[in-house]
């Protein structure tokens, strides 16, 4: 193996990294992912192309990190101070509320997800990243591990709590249950089959929980 000696991360320029994130997100938002080029990102960031190639293996990887950074920052802004580490670890979510009413709590969260997916600012980069991950297994794995799984874990936690409280069948698999809730929203959003609304989110919760309620 010729392991093409890794660059010294200690000397990395933070200024450049930030500028690259900003440029990447801006360009993808403006022109779409396909028309965004590494040369374009470098130019917009005022950075040499090599500085991108030194630290990222692909355009998709740049966007992924930029995206994660954006999420972490967004979280950091609203988070209580001194708790930044926790935020960045779980993708910027703070957990699903537990008011005792599982359906209401899920509707709240899923409606927020609907709004997020419909936010035109997030749409372009999120679609780009997802599509890239569908085709590129390695990138997809990273996407799932760093972005998706942390969010899904919150549902598992909430659903387990519901099971313990007797609001959910004890023999239901939380992971599968979660997919029953999330997948339909993702499906509509990704494939643009039908509009993605709050009402749809509510219906999904109702239908899904119907089959998961404890036996009478």
């Amino acid at each position: 193996m010729a392991p093409r000696k890794a660059p010294d991360a200690g000397r990395r320029s933070d200024r450049s990294r930030r500028a690259i994130y900003d440029a990447a997100l801006a360009l993808v938002g403006e022109n779409g992912y396909r028309r965004t080029t590494i040369e374009g990102i470098a130019a917009r960031a005022g950075v040499g192309k090599q500085t991108i190639y030194r630290w990222w293996p692909s355009k998709a990887a740049v966007l992924m990190e930029a995206f994660l950074d954006m999420a972490a920052r967004a979280a950091g802004q609203t988070a209580p101070e001194g708790d930044e580490d926790a935020d960045s670890r779980n993708g910027g979510e703070y957990g699903i509320p537990d008011t005792g009413d599982l359906a209401a709590d899920l509707k709240l969260v899923l409606r927020a997800t609907v709004d997020e997916l419909n936010d035109p600012l997030m749409e372009a980069p999120t679609r780009a990243l997802t599509a890239e991950g569908i085709v590129d297994a390695a990138l997809g794995a990273e996407f799932v591990e760093k972005l998706l799984d942390p969010q899904l874990a919150l549902y598992v936690t909430r659903l387990r709590a519901a099971q313990e409280a007797g609001h959910l069948r004890a023999d239901a698999d939380p992971r599968t249950a979660l997919e029953l809730l999330i997948a339909p929203l993702t499906h509509r959003w990704l494939l643009r089959t039908l509009p993605l609304t709050h009402a749809y989110a509510d219906t999904i919760v109702d239908y899904a929980l119907g089959g998961l309620a404890p036996r009478p």
Copy 2:
């Protein structure tokens, strides 16, 4: 506008069209969609580049048609003769069986879907097409209209029959119900979160129908 005279479809060479389909599918299968080029398809098909540009607006459009053609052929092979038109209109499916046992019928069909998604031969082009449609709205619309919707319509038909037979809540929306069944499979397959198995398909049917059964 200079209305650049449309090509005369009557004179189109069938031989070339077929060769282009074959080359496109073969190359996407071998090298992936990203590394497949129009020049490469033309060369492999023994066709001038212009012959591709004359009839299709993009690489994705070529692949889409090649894909539809493949589906139509696959259907034509097993279909009763003299019924090819009907097949190609519904994506090659012949409808969901109705044995009176809704859960069993759905499991049968969804298990077949799982097998199809796990078929390595279909995987590359299907993923490519889906990913492209996620990013390119026009292509996505075509994908949904020509490939997805015809298949989903079969579920709607079956579910409506179930409602009439009293096996499904009368106030349930079949379209939403269908998404509850299909979306989780699609989710696992597209995002590669967890393995996609027959057992998973069965569980989804059980959980989903649980909430859609008629009230006792």
Copy 3:
């Protein structure tokens, strides 16, 4: 061997070739050879880079052809009509006059050579080409074959005539004699040791012919 199929010269665009010659000569004249880039030539010529790479193996080769073309055109302009082929074959020279006075004839021609070498318009590309040929043997061979040898052949012809006329020692080798005349001029010009003047040319002729005159 993978002989990277040669392009079809019959379809070559004359317009592009000419534009490339012009751009190459202009840029070398303006910025020098080192600062002239293939990208720059392509941009100035309004031509894709690939059109250069398709037809020439290197920047030096482009310049060489541009140079030969310039010489051929310059010759064609002053030459009697209907004789263009002959001109381009001997580098644009029409032969060394033969007035019967060898020394006078040589001085005439060498003074003209001095003027040509001192012409600032020719200087940059000629130096560039020569320097490149010194380092790149293949290019040097082409330079010698296409530009230098045809000119030197004229001297050989004139010197042989002088031998036949008894104005030059019969046992003198014309090729060596020619080098005795030409090399000192080239030496001064290439290495810029001392100024290159008409007087110097005259002196060289006198000194050189002194040793080559027929024995009394």
Copy 4:
């Protein structure tokens, strides 16, 4: 102007300088001048790039010094001890012998020059340096001043001695005479028109001296 303080030559690392010379000569010999890079020299010499940029203005300047150093060392090896300064000042030559037979003495020296030019070890760097000097006037001047002129001066000395001894026409200009001897060899070597042999050197001496002999 910001007079960017000159580096302190007193602290200069001799070890690095030597390593850079060695690396430069080795790389030019192995890969040719064009493919030799400053980064490559630095890497091979185990030296930071800045150490090169601190002390030399260009790749050509490095090679020039390396070349001069090599000449000085080569001279130092065979020179009588305690006389190193004199050697390095005249390019490593010890003067042209004066046996009283001018032609013989010149043939001896020119044959040695032929051998040196044909020495494959010297060839690459010498050609590179010469070619560079042809295009870059400043470097060319340095080349002439430091390498060429000291050697040519030896010829002038010997030729003047010949004049005083009555072996050469009194009105002949030694500088021009020298060029008549040297230039043809240089010409063949630089332009690779014809092979450069001892016989050729002899012929040149004969032809040139023929015209410079004292009038009978």
